[in-house]
Symmetry: C2
Subunit: 187 residues, 2 copies
């Protein structure tokens, strides 16, 4: 259960065995069925959530009721709604499993305790957030500047682990193009 | 020179006069002419930069040499390349003034000193970064989900202070649409 997470951490930060044990002890393992929801809009998101296996997406409905995929997450990724977590206000997003998925979760209280107890984890977590923000800037640049074909090729190259595991219409939605445009590009 | 900044800070955090004085003492005021550059791609961005008056944009060239506006910033906003600042690597972005502009800047060394000396500033700065990230998520949602018309109306409503002060083709580029599409929407 913890093998993926242990390896993920050990490749990125140097923690003592006692610190690893504390991280594991505070975690809660959850198994999700395909299409099972982890967050519904209107709920407050209070978890840190690491994907040990499987695949999730974060999505949001527009006013017409169409859903738009903002983010995919596979094993070794985190999935979160930063804003709801930080401000403790209802989320506008939804998170669901796109396959049978195992996640490790920590409550906000546990996570805050861990950040205080493990300075290296705090530094790592801050870097993770900074990198997420920087990745958002690159994605915005791609969305406003790239052709549909370039977006598609970039997605394939950047997220090969995602590309073959998620429905095509969700990839189209993530790239901000219609399913028809994506189908045409693939042919 | 400092009136705008003083008011900005006082409306957001409670600092002692000594702390305000330290903030001012470490700042460097720069006056930019219209079209003057503050950052060229390839340079490392090492500043915190508050806009006291005027208007700037952050932009990036694609491989064909077309520039794309990622961000506008008017008075009371900060303009930065987070990634270059954090990692101390060459920037892929450019920053230029779109009008005569006055900025207050702090070097990374001064800013780090201020964050250590003024805990309330550190908390505020972390929240500012978090809110920037959350705004990026909303922008991504808008870019992938909204119609050209909805993007245009949203921009007008969200950034009225920007809208009337920047060239139309830069607004089009910011919204990820052609100048022709934006002109058609305005008619």
């Amino acid at each position: 259960m913890f093998a993926t997470f242990d390896q993920y951490i050990q490749q990125r930060i140097s923690l003592s065995e006692a610190e690893m044990e504390l991280l594991r002890a505070r975690s809660v393992v959850r198994k999700l069925r395909k299409w099972q929801s982890l967050l519904h809009e209107g709920e407050v998101w209070r978890l840190q959530c690491f994907i040990a296996s499987g695949c999730c997406r974060l999505y949001r409905f527009d006013e017409a009721g169409t859903d738009h995929t903002l983010r995919f997450a596979v094993e070794n990724w985190w999935v979160t709604d930063h804003e709801s977590y930080r401000t403790e206000t209802p989320s506008v997003y939804n998170i669901e499993a796109l396959a049978a998925t195992t996640v490790l979760t920590w409550t906000k209280e546990s996570w805050d305790e861990l950040l205080r107890a493990i300075p290296a984890l705090k530094t790592f977590y801050e870097q993770l957030q900074a990198r997420s923000y920087e990745a958002s800037q690159r994605r915005i640049f791609s969305l406003i500047s790239a052709s549909a074909e370039a977006k598609y090729l970039e997605f394939q190259q950047t997220y090969p682990l995602v590309f073959n595991r998620v429905p095509l219409h969700m990839v189209a939605s993530y790239l901000g193009m219609s399913r028809e445009t994506l189908s045409r590009l693939r042919r």
